[in-house]
């Protein structure tokens, strides 16, 4: 882990499915050390592991030579998380609706929907480095 500034931390992992737990530990540790409530920690852990899984499996095609980067930027009120792969990107609007009756028993295809449900904002963009970037935002201010 490299600490770029007191409020921005960064992790890079190779595209191996077993590394998802490493991303989770990095995230949960960072959130707890900043006093983020447990209910928000678990919501963010679910959302981020969804997107890291997608980045490894779909973005980088599980190629261990490719990496996934995770950047957490904290303000007093909000955390912004950026997950970047080295893949060719995709159109999230083309993902089938997981709530449609015909898709309800599909084993895959819920990750983006779940991340959107748990976060305040989820956006997709091309990363300047060439991969796909997913940006998550969540209010972490005390209620």
């Amino acid at each position: 882990m490299n600490r770029a500034s007191p409020d921005v931390i960064h992790l890079v992992i190779p595209s191996e499915p077993g590394r998802v737990a490493e991303a989770d530990e990095f995230l949960e540790s960072a959130l707890r050390s900043r006093g983020v409530p447990e209910a928000i920690v678990s919501d963010m852990a679910i959302a981020v592991t969804e997107l890291v899984n997608n980045a490894i499996v779909h973005g980088n095609k599980s190629d261990p030579q490719k990496s996934v980067s995770l950047t957490l930027s904290f303000t007093a009120r909000e955390v912004v998380i950026r997950v970047v792969d080295q893949g060719s990107g995709f159109d999230p609007s083309q993902v089938p609706d997981p709530l449609a009756n015909e898709n309800l028993l599909r084993e895959v295809g819920r990750g983006i929907f779940i991340a959107r449900s748990l976060m305040d904002h989820v956006t997709y963009e091309r990363d300047p480095g060439g991969g796909m970037a997913v940006v998550l935002r969540r209010d972490i201010s005390p209620t």
Partner: protein, 117 residues
């Protein structure tokens, strides 16, 4: 995630502990469930009381197991679903797919007397 299992009245009770997020942990649960199916142990309860949370990988494993068991005239039932997982089942509408019970005993009993081998 750690996984243990036991049998009660002819029903296999799986007890995962921790988080189900993908990677080797998820493979462990998937393989255990499919080993049971191969052994014709077709009445399965998953006790979720010790699962902190799961993501869509965990939900996918539950669905895979449910459909495989039901196609083999068996069934998968959930017990002691935590608030966090209940919330996920609700937003994904999977609450309409799974039978969930407040306790393992209730889930096991729901299989009925026919489960006594």
């Amino acid at each position: 995630m750690k996984l243990s299992h036991r049998e009660k009245n002819g029903v296999v009770v799986l007890e995962p502990h921790g988080k189900i997020m993908g990677g080797p942990d998820a493979t462990l649960l998937h393989d255990q469930l499919h080993d049971l199916i191969a052994e014709k142990k077709l009445k399965v309860v998953i006790d979720l009381s010790q699962v902190d949370w799961m993501n869509s990988t965990g939900l996918g494993i539950l669905i895979s197991s449910l459909t495989t068991l039901r196609n083999s005239q068996g069934d998968l039932k959930l017990a002691s679903v935590t608030d966090k997982i209940q919330s996920l089942l609700t937003i994904t509408k999977l609450i309409t797919v799974f039978e969930a019970y407040d306790s393992v005993d209730e889930a096991v009993a729901s299989f009925g007397a026919a489960t006594h081998a």
